[in-house]
């Protein structure tokens, strides 16, 4: 290639930039909502077919059978509705989400993590379902803060499925071996530090406490730890970073001390969830922060034993990060498809004793029943769901008593805005502390604060 060719290329790009700056725009045709006439319930004589995401994969035989049986039961109740199930693992992959939506491959009723709901709403990637939910029996009993995740500009764009809150997952066996009482898990970070020290003193490569510090997961856990200390990641108006605070310093100094002074966090860092779960399953880890759903994962995927694990609420207990999942609607769906989708979600996800809450069936199918998860309902439906869950429990629920008793007293907190970008910055902070003995906490927090302020200022 000659120099003039390169010059032409650069000139072309510059010209294109100038043209681009002129500010023309194009848009796709979207179903921007529905007319008032569509508020009526779905006509039983109208044939509707909808695609629904997050059917369990073939590898999860029992869960898939349960799902398929639910679909059959639902279609018997509503013969005019055809559910076309779509399986994928993981159910939502942020990396392919937009491509799937743009390529017309997204289901009418698609699965989302609570983390992503706000962005999806802001991006106009979900249908407004405000007018369609009035007929949902337990809608009024859903946790308001969960519903808020699916709201934007006073409109509703989705419905929750499950809810979790972060706690402290610990290895009861190692607690006993270290001379600790497994029925009295640590309640403060100081106690976590002391217990971790005793557990790691067992030697043989056993780590007292592990934390994530890569793949944006370090920032995620830093957020949970900040909440537990009563701190914030961003200011209430979401415009400034708020973690360069006494709580932020306390979180990092605590990690620094465990990692370098106590040597209770092991030598291997830059860990992510997939590194830590096998450590717990193989009896090489004493404690880590986790949601209750990690317990069946450790058991199923890494051959752990239910009886080995206990669960406690977040140390210090000033707050905990909550998360979960739900379903939203493809903006290209017709009003009838949205109505049919809501009927399905009500049947599968929002009725105690049915679908995902059919604990009696799950017990028969030898699925774990009795994990202490925050209820998606309030009032009577919450009590009903909890009662059915307790009746059919097949797990050593006493191991989770500390969590079940303590967690409801902890303030539930959602993730910050621009969560993934902020987590990416905080990953650097946490990984520095865990990999550099001489890391300067003040400087790290100060630099991260500047970066996050930039991110928040650029957020649209």
């Amino acid at each position: 290639m000659k120099a003039r060719h390169l010059a032409v290329l650069v000139a072309g790009v510059t010209a294109l930039a100038n043209v681009a700056a002129c500010g023309t725009s194009s848009s796709n045709d979207n179903d921007k909502g529905s007319k008032a006439a569509n508020i009526a319930p779905l006509d039983p004589n109208t044939k509707v077919s909808i695609t629904v995401g997050c059917q369990p994969p073939k590898s999860s035989k029992v869960l898939r059978t349960e799902w398929n049986n639910d679909v059959t039961a639902f279609q018997q109740l509503h013969p005019n509705i055809t559910i076309v199930s779509k399986d994928a693992f993981p159910c939502e992959d942020p990396k392919t989400f937009t491509a799937k939506l743009a390529g017309g491959q997204m289901e009418n009723v698609y699965y989302v993590y609570l983390t992503d709901a706000k962005n999806i709403i802001a991006n106009g990637q979900a249908a407004d379902i405000t007018k369609y939910v009035s007929g949902v029996k337990n809608y009024g009993s859903l946790q308001p803060q969960l519903l808020n995740v699916f709201k934007g500009g006073g409109k509703l764009y989705g419905l929750p499925k499950t809810n979790y809150s972060m706690g402290l997952l610990y290895n009861r066996k190692l607690f006993q071996q270290a001379g600790l009482n497994p029925d009295q898990p640590p309640t403060t970070w100081a106690e976590v530090q002391a217990d971790a020290k005793k557990i790691s003193a067992l030697g043989n490569g056993i780590v007292g406490y592990a934390d994530y510090s890569a793949g944006n997961q370090g920032g995620w856990h830093f957020t949970a730890e900040m909440y537990s200390q009563g701190g914030d990641i961003v200011t209430p108006d979401g415009k400034k970073a708020a973690f360069n605070s006494p709580q932020g310093h306390a979180v990092l100094q605590n990690l620094q001390q465990m990692r370098w002074t106590d040597n209770s966090m092991g030598a291997k860092q830059l860990l992510q969830i997939a590194d830590v779960q096998p450590m717990m399953a193989s009896g090489k880890l004493g404690m880590y922060l986790s949601a209750p759903d990690n317990i069946p994962t450790i058991k199923d995927q890494f051959q752990g034993k239910f009886e080995d694990y206990g669960l406690a609420p977040m140390p210090n207990g000033q707050g905990t990060l909550i998360g979960g999942d739900g379903y939203m609607f493809n903006p290209k769906s017709s009003p009838d498809q949205i109505k049919a989708g809501i009927l399905w979600l009500e049947f599968e996800n929002l009725t105690p004793g049915k679908g995902q809450f059919d604990w009696a069936q799950k017990k028969i199918d030898k699925q774990p029943v009795g994990l202490p998860q925050p209820n998606i309902f309030t009032g009577a439906p919450a009590a009903e769901e909890l009662q059915i869950r307790k009746q059919n429990s097949n797990l050593p629920v006493d191991n989770y008593k500390a969590f079940a008793d303590g967690d409801p007293k902890v303030k539930y907190r959602l993730e910050p805005p621009q969560a993934q970008q902020i987590y990416a910055v905080l990953d650097g902070v946490v990984s520095s502390v865990l990999t550099n003995r001489n890391a300067d906490v003040n400087s790290l927090l100060s630099k991260a604060e500047t970066k996050v302020n930039g991110i928040l200022a650029n957020a649209e």
């Binding site: 294109l16 681009a20 979207n30 989400f97 106009g124 990637q125 992510q272 990999t435």
Partner: protein, 291 residues
Amino acid sequence: MQRNLTAYGFLCAALVCFAVFSWYPIVREVILSFQKTNFVGDTKWVGLKNFHRVIEDPSFSAAWKNTAIFTLLALICGYAVPFVTALLLNELRHARGYLRFVVYLPVMLPPAVSVLLFKWFYNPGPGLFNEILRFVHLPTLAWLDSGKTALISLVIVATWTNMGSGTLIYLAALQTVPAELYEAAELDGAGLLRRIRHITIPQTKLILLVMLLLQIIATMQVFIEPFLLTGGGPDNATVSVVYLMYQYAFNFNNFGSGGALGLMLMLVLVIFSAVYLRLSRDDRDGRAARV
């Protein structure tokens, strides 16, 4: 025309494939870097805003710096090691086929498998490398867990996984060097190093140059190693330009800024590619002149 119809048919098929799978994505990416879009709702032209956004990102300078250092280190290790290995293999008289297979074996492993293997090698606790260091009574290293050694650790992985291809290309080039040149040099009393310096390197100069540029182009696009081994850490010590692009597009859902960063990288690579094309042409012309 009639005579060349078949050739034109093949040419058309190739052009269609290139247009659909190479040129269109490039053009689309260039356009995307001046837009704000989520591929579903409205698409807005935003001028150079995506570029400003990326340049203002504190990770931007770290990503370019890391990519440049990685490229430099990968050249020092990944360029010299395969050439020396090829020289050794070329000198061997026994078990040549077996050793070539052994050298090429890592290339046949899926990159993710190689990377996960090194994850265990690099474990600062019971990892293989530190076990070896302990065995010979040397101080252990933190490898990936230290900002000082993380990048060179990734270079070692990249070198190990990719050296097989380079070695085979160099080996092929070495075997085109006329044997009588070596015989004459030996008669004149030239030792191994002098033979390499005055015969091998000049005779394979063009291949060496082309490989050098190809390696620069490939290593500047480093992604798999930081993505799978370090997640860009510790503290951005291994974040690369392509990894940052990935973060923008797929984690931050900001395709425009990802595209802008991609365009910057593309322009840098275009310069190297232009040099490569020039050298390829010189190689062709040189060979044509010799015929």
